[in-house]
Symmetry: C2
Subunit: 145 residues, 2 copies
DNA sequence: GTGTAAATGAAATTCAATATCAATTATACC
DNA sequence: GGTATAATTGATATTGAATTTCATTTACAC
């Protein structure tokens, strides 16, 4: 009853958005990977199984999937928007290696309190935060001492 | 002896980069404002006093100024890179209003410890972090209850 | 089934970032 | 101070992701 597909259908109905075969396919492919994909990368995956779905459709579908609460945009600062799963995934932040581009997902409950404290101090209503640590990962450190 | 201009001159000398009148003018204009300017915004400011300095020169100068440690790039997620002073400004993070685009600069020492803890846990060598809280500011809250 | 408004896909547009290249200029050397 | 030369400049071109346009197709309410 509470599968991501149901959440999606529910969201579409509730907002008067039609359920198209293309969007269903795109959602299916997106759910089938655990990677942090850009729109183009997702498009290339989609194309394998569904060669006649256009890029614009993928681009627009990803936004709908985000609005439905199933995906979230992440920005690693390299000029392309990536998307990660949100359904069944608790909030996390990222350590990003500036050498190889790899990233590590980290959970850090203390940061939530930090957000609350700062927000309260400035009478700011927080909706989300972005915490990213840039640096050199374990592997890259090894190969360039 | 330790003015930003001296830091700049030193940096240029130490790296075999020439000191041009254009770069000096651009640095001067940049230091003369406390705003978080994009390259184009800075270019428009520079143009007032120096109408024959081209955009490309401003674009390149900002990078040099960053490398000299006098400016830092900030990314508020709206697709344009902005630059803020670094000289004589301690590290801070930002609360960003998603309604009006305004931002609040905040200092939060605890976040440094958070960074260290996480880095140590993953044997990651951190160079910098980005902590941003998105939400609705005091003012925008007032005008849309 | 039919009408209609939303969705699609190919192509065009936008816009910041970045590259190119001939002309100009800073500086090391004499 | 003059000169060689390599860096810098500025106009312009290119790139690439994001976003829009629009004619055609399709979902779905009735
Ligand atoms: Mn993630
Ligand atoms: Mn700032
Ligand atoms: Zn790495
Ligand atoms: Zn605001």
């Amino acid at each position: 009853m509470d599968s991501p597909n149901n959440v999606f259908t529910q969201y579409l109905k509730a907002n008067g958005i039609r359920q198209s075969t293309q969007r269903d396919s795109i959602l299916e492919v997106f759910l089938g990977t655990e990677k942090h994909l850009s729109a183009i990368e997702l498009y290339n995956l989609v194309r394998r199984r569904h060669p006649n779905i256009g890029y614009a459709t993928v681009y627009r579908a990803v936004k709908v999937i985000c609005n439905a609460g199933l995906a979230e945009e992440v920005d690693f600062g390299d000029g392309v928007a990536r998307f990660e799963h949100k359904y069944g995934h608790e909030h996390h932040d990222h350590l990003i290696c500036t050498k190889c581009g790899k990233f590590i997902e980290v959970r850090q409950p203390n940061i939530e309190k930090l957000q609350e404290d700062l927000a309260k101090e400035y009478r700011f209503i927080p909706t989300r935060h972005k915490f990213q640590i840039f640096g050199i990962c374990k592997n890259c450190k090894k190969y360039s001492p």
